[in-house]
Amino acid sequence: MSDNAISVQHLVKRFGETTVLDDISLEIPRGQVSCLIGPSGSGKSTLLRCMAFLEEATDGSIFIEGAPLGFVYDGAGKRQRQSATELRKVRSQIGMVFQQFNLWPHMTALGNVSAALRRVRKLSRAEAEEKAMVQLRKVGLENRAGHYPSQLSGGQQQRVAIARSLALEPKIMLFDEPTSALDPELTGEVLNVMRGLASEGMTMVVVTHEIGFAATVGNQISFLDQGKLLFTDAPSKVFAKPRHPRLEQFLDTYLDRGASTLV
């Protein structure tokens, strides 16, 4: 467990009667890029959201840098909700990037990136904005600092969202299909920022349909199908033939044009 940034153990998630995640165990190694792929509806987002406790697992446990997330077990082995303060502490190690960006529309790019530095980290406005500018510069948007989200393209919004997460200096970054809501010509700028992060050694978990990205940047790839984790392996192994029949079927259906050469 100690070498892994995230440890998912026997995770089960049910929505009412439907089992969306069925006994998932997964180790996310520190400093590596782990990609989650699979058909839509297979439970990728739910798994990622469980890793941030945005979704409460029905059973099983998740550890972030060795610390339990969301639930703790008492002396009698009974599962209990973590205190809000404890949860915030564990969560502070995680950054989350959403498919829909989720920027706060009433704040500028700079406001979005500096808000938590001011409110949560209690930095002065000047300090917070200085740190925020560093992050905006990193994603190439220092000249858009004063723009509101509605004045930015989708790709720029997503880069601001990444900067907003990075400003809090997380140890782990979670991405839920960060380019799926973007026009095809805008996905490159976001993927480039993510490549940069990966090369700096950031621990990343990426739900993606960009098979090319998963194959070239990913260190390990996990394939989910109908709530089951079918396998986790290095890209070279995952895409080598003969492939798992469900993966073969998935690639046939979901492979983006042009990426086929990569795999």
Binding site: A84, W104, H106, A115, R164
Partner: protein, 214 residues
Amino acid sequence: MSWKLFNLLLEASLMTIFVSSVSILIGLFLAILLSAANLSGIRPLQWFAKFFISFFRGTPLLVQLLLLYNLLPVIGVQIPSLVTAIIGLSICTAAYQAENLRGGFEGVPTGLVESADMAGFTPVQTFFHIRVPIALRLTLPALINEAILILKASSLVSVVGLIELTRMAQNLVASTFMPLEIYASAGLIYLVINLVVATAGRQLERRLPGVGGK
């Protein structure tokens, strides 16, 4: 009708504007607290907010004002009629504004709250820095509408002894016997004030980032 009379009406309209705008602002503040109570998940607070909102929306403002005016001496409170008027109007508009805001709070996308959670905001911080500004923007047209309704409803506060535009008009009619000119002038002043409020509201809507505008 002489300028002198018209000036008296204009002066009285300042009282109308003052009482209304102060009440709108206090009412907005109370409405935000009522919304917080509603969202708190704490049952007694939620019940209180529900009761408060349905009581003050379900009874006529005139009755509320008369009740307040007669209740205060009984419980030994002596305050100027201006304060009584502001209390009465604020409480009433708070109930309506809370009801308007409810839709706004429901309209705040979950994702925006989740990103605040991930950023480490406490629920109180998320409420004031994320939910309130967005809910206010979503319900700005309803808020402007409520401001106009309160400007007009403020004509009722004369029952607690405050001399505002309508009461001044009545007084002037009693001494000059020119009801048509005077009431028409009063109506015109209300109309102008409300047109200004409506126009300013539309400008604000257009300019506020994160609403209709950029």
